[in-house]
Amino acid sequence: MELAPASPTPASPRPAPASPHANGWLQRRTGGDWLYLLALIGGAMLACLNYRTTLDGYDLAILILHVPILTAIGWYWRPFRLLILLVTVLALASINLYQGDLARAEKLFLLKYLLSSQTAISWMSALFFIATGAYWLGLLARSDFAERTGSFLTWSAVTMGTTGLFVRWYESYLIGPDIGHIPISNLYEVFVLFSLFTALLYLFYEGRYATRKLGAFVLLVISAAVLFLLWYAFTREAYQIQPLIPALQSYWMKVHVPANFIGYGAFAVAAMVGVAQLLVSRGLLASRLPAPSVLEDVMYKAIAIGFAFFTIATILGALWAAEAWGTYWQWDPKETWALIVWLNYAVWLHMRLTRGLRGTMLAWWAVLGLLVTTFAFVGVNMFLSGLHSYGSL
């Protein structure tokens, strides 16, 4: 949905269609596309029928909305269809193995070592680390095979991580029906979300620009996030599912948090592309990395999508705050830092679009922008106190 095309694909390896604008949008749909749509509709209907007694109006609306949204993404970006399929199969397999009994995670081999949430997230972490190595090997040794491996591993990591989050969602309901909630409510869970969104955004650009060279850089920031995740999990035992405090029991959470992390993820991608561009501008790895114009373009696209979603996220946050705290804006440190992040990228976009600024200046800015973003994301929780103290360290 967010990537709805206004013009056909840029820089794509695919040949431009013979008649590029012969209203062929529907005609270009393959059998797989229609099958995918049918599967989504079928899944939504199945969920409706099975759980209609427990679904309220919001649930139903969100469930139905998922069909067009996932269809749009899958049709626009075909590999996404396979991801959805795999995650569905794995998550359902895990749920089936559990049979409503949490203790089976300790007994069943497949659950214990593959499909319980903690294990799946551990697999995600490991796969991201190996993917980082593969991308770097590919970049330095100019090995296409290593890069392909990196790409494959990143997709696998995303599959395992997404499965892990879905299974965690299910597990939370097994603890108690009143405890169950979507796993995006504390710092541990949103770090997983951040890794997933960053990787997905990167994989999207990897396909669009037909280059795997940037994986080495983007996977670095994902690995850093995963390292933090592991450290946080081990030192604070943060991986334990906790119930929701009253302020978080709201539908707004389900849209506010993911929108925010699309923003953070996109800014992270932009910053790492910025690092690549800075290296190229100094003649480092210049022969191995894409041309500066391509790097600039990816950086712009990432910041544009990040900014758009960060805008939505901040507004959703304000709407939620109005409901929970009685005012849509009260200069809470998290809100204030969100504003600073927003202003930073707003000025970045003005500089590029209105002033026509290009080159290393914008790259440096994108890199520093990530520092500001990181502070808004983690730093505020660590150093400042305020209402957003759910993910305190």
Binding site: I312, Y328, T336, S385
Partner: protein, 675 residues
């Protein structure tokens, strides 16, 4: 030249450079606001910064940055700057949206970054049809201009993206204006224009001056309403500048019940207030439940569940004196939030007792997190508890302050029920002299389920009149040769001396005595001797206490030895307890209070509308791509040029695609030739 100056001023105000400078200042100011904690009590800042800096920062408005006048001025300038920019850009943008630029010269087309010349092979009379079909199929709107140098097709698409500019920038103006309406600017204006002034210090609401009361029709405010269960209120309170203002509400809120639900692990699950709202003018009333995330809107005022407090629970106490006389415990009751004077009959002490808090439920983790296995974190479900916490509800706790005649206060935090630690039961009472310190806990051990025995031991041990009796009994029991009078005398004297020391300050006093009077080489053995004597005395006092209470003396065993050890530790600690009595809670009637926030925010619709426009505007600006394609048909050749408002790689691709498609349809050669 005032006109030129005015124009230059408008130029500056509406320039992007000015707007960005303002944004930078705004960002830095906002950062200060996140580093300096906002809207704290002035005393806290005074302590933190010292006299000089406290005043200096206060002058700068750093304690309430976002309400400081200079911050508001920057915001106002930002609104002005953005508005001027939009107004200035409007005509230009409008021309861009409506116009086709069908008068573009050939020379200027050649200057476009994307341009090419086609030399078609097909007959010239088919060109127009081919170009028209191509533009229509590609979704362009176009205008045809037949002129001397040929026929120009001026085509464009995506001009709606320009509307995004107005939406996004207009949205900023709307949001800032809405924010200014909902901020405390209206309040400040009222304070200046209508002479409203906050009341400082503790006053009853009825005694507040009229200047501290706002109008019921006040259009913008955010006030707190405190309502104990079973009572009602129609008055909100605004905290401002270390004082308060009263905001009457157009209705009365009666709190029937305040509900807190907890999860098993003690985390709160639900805060809810069951209220009855009565409209002041119409007298109509209705019942409703206000919860976190579920506010109530009535008569333009929105009520939110903001906080909760004790609403004046009644606590029934038994004050057990530490004095050697065995008077029965003093029983009395008090309401949380109130204070009273407690003095002994003989005027040995007189305290002001301030009952400050009561919590009916305290869930604590009784096990410190143990070292966990690495694999615990890597494998399995997310539900298993790695630390193997042992959560326990410790029951009600209560806090109070004892203020002496000089105004010095000690704060206490006691638990109503005895707590079991390592298999033994104790009553816990925490004490501290200042808010900065943690509570230090006195653990009074239970004997036969009550603390009576311990108090009996304390009376016996700390009563100077009974010291000699106790010392002699101790000597009687512990002397192997009971006939040796000299030895008996010496042991009695030593025991009496130890008792005197211990009574004056517990083991601390004993330790000090040893350090001061005994050579270093003998201190260890002396210390051991003192402890042995004290333990013996404690045994003796335990027996005496039970005899006095008419209880049998059981056989000594390990658990008894443990009890005596704990008693001795508590006896020692009790010398530094600071209060002459232990305040035990015997019963309570809980009454909670709910704190609701009542607000009127007239700017909210503006802000929400602005937010909607902002999202539409941002997406339109970033994702609706404006493209202009010019095709100039001349004799024998065709000039092709393209422009875009965004310079991204896909513009190159798009141009090449249009050029090649046209060239193919016209069987044309391209110049400059494609790379």
């Amino acid at each position: 030249m005032p006109r030129a100056t005015a124009r230059a001023l408008i130029e500056l105000l509406s320039s992007m450079r000015f707007a960005i400078s303002l944004l930078t200042v705004l960002a830095i100011a906002s950062i200060i606001g996140t580093v300096v904690r906002q809207n704290e009590a002035f005393n806290a800042y005074l302590n933190q910064f010292g006299q000089f800096w406290f005043l200096f920062f206060g002058k700068l408005g750093l304690y309430s940055v976002y309400n400081a006048s200079w911050f508001t001025v920057i915001l106002a300038f930002l609104v002005l700057s953005t508005a001027l920019c939009v107004i200035r850009q409007a005509p230009l943008m409008w021309r861009e949206i409506c116009g086709f630029r069908e008068h573009a010269r050939e020379a200027s087309l050649q200057l476009f970054h994307h341009h090419a010349t086609l030399t078609p092979a097909v007959p010239a009379d088919t060109w127009r049809e081919v170009v028209t079909n191509h533009l229509a199929a590609a979704g362009f709107r176009f205008k045809v201009n037949e002129r001397i140098d040929g026929v120009l097709f001026a085509a464009k698409q995506g001009s709606a993206g320009r509307v995004g500019y107005f939406f996004a920038h207009g949205a900023i103006v709307l949001i800032c204006l809405g924010g200014l309406l909902d901020g405390n600017l209206p309040l400040r204006l009222m304070m200046t224009l209508e002479g409203k002034a906050p009341a400082v210090g503790n006053q009853l609401i009825a005694d507040m001056p009229a200047a501290a009361r706002l109008d019921v029709d006040n259009f913008s405010y955010r006030a707190n309403v405190y309502i104990p269960e079973g009572r009602s209120s129609s008055m909100g309170v605004l905290n401002i500048d270390d004082g308060i203002l009263l905001q009457p509400l157009p209705f009365t809120i009666s709190l029937k019940r305040f509900i807190i639900d907890h999860y098993e692990n003690g985390m709160p699950r639900r805060f809810a207030s069951e209220v009855l709202i009565t409209d002041t003018t119409s007298g109509e009333s209705f019942e409703r439940t206000i919860e976190v995330n579920k506010p109530l809107e009535f008569r333009g005022v929105t009520l939110y569940q903001s906080s909760f407090d004790d609403g004046g629970s009644i606590l029934h106490f038994a004050a057990r004196s530490f004095a050697p006389t065995s008077a029965p415990p003093l029983e009395f009751e008090g309401e949380v939030g109130s204070s009273m004077t407690l003095s002994s009959a003989g005027d040995e002490y007189s305290f002001k007792l301030e009952l400050t808090g009561f919590r009916p439920v305290n869930v604590e983790n009784m096990l410190e997190s143990s070292a966990t296995n690495m694999l615990d974190g890597l494998l399995g479900n997310g539900a298993h508890d790695p630390a193997r916490r042992e959560l326990r509800n410790l029951g009600p706790s209560y806090t109070y302050k004892l203020r002496d005649a000089t105004g010095q206060a000690l704060e206490f935090n006691n638990y109503m029920l005895p707590l079991q630690v390592n298999g033994r039961w104790y009553h816990y009472s925490g004490m501290r002299a200042s808010q900065m310190e943690p509570f230090r806990y006195l653990r009074i051990p239970l004997d036969d389920g009550s603390i009576d025995t311990w108090f009996g031991m304390r009376r016996t041990l700390f009563d100077p009149a009974r010291r000699s009796v106790l010392a002699r009994r101790f000597a009687d029991r512990n002397l192997d040769a009971p006939d040796d009078n000299t030895l008996h005398e010496r042991l009695t004297a030593a025991a009496e001396h130890t008792l005197t020391l211990f009574s004056s300050g517990g083991f601390d006093a004993v330790g000090k005595f040893i350090t001061a009077n005994i050579p270093e080489a003998e201190r260890d053995s002396a210390g051991e001797a003192f402890i042995k004597i004290m333990q013996g005395l404690a045994w003796e006092s335990w027996q005496m206490a039970r005899e006095e209470a008419g209880k049998p003396i059981p056989e000594a065993d390990d658990s008894l030895a443990g009890f005596v050890r704990d008693s001795l530790a508590a006896l020692s600690d009790s010398t530094a307890y600071g209060a002459p009595f232990y305040l035990q809670l015997s019963a309570y009637e809980q009454r909670q209070a709910s704190v609701l926030q009542a607000s009127r925010s007239p700017g909210k619709p503006l802000v929400y509308l602005g937010s909607l426009l902002l999202v539409i505007g941002v997406f339109a600006m970033l994702y609706v791509r404006e493209r202009r394609l010019f095709v100039l048909l001349r004799h024998g050749t065709m000039t092709l040029a393209m422009s875009s408002n965004r310079k991204t790689i896909d513009v190159d691709e798009t141009f090449i695609r249009h050029r090649d498609t046209l060239a193919a349809a016209l069987q044309a050669t391209i110049s400059p030739p494609p790379q």
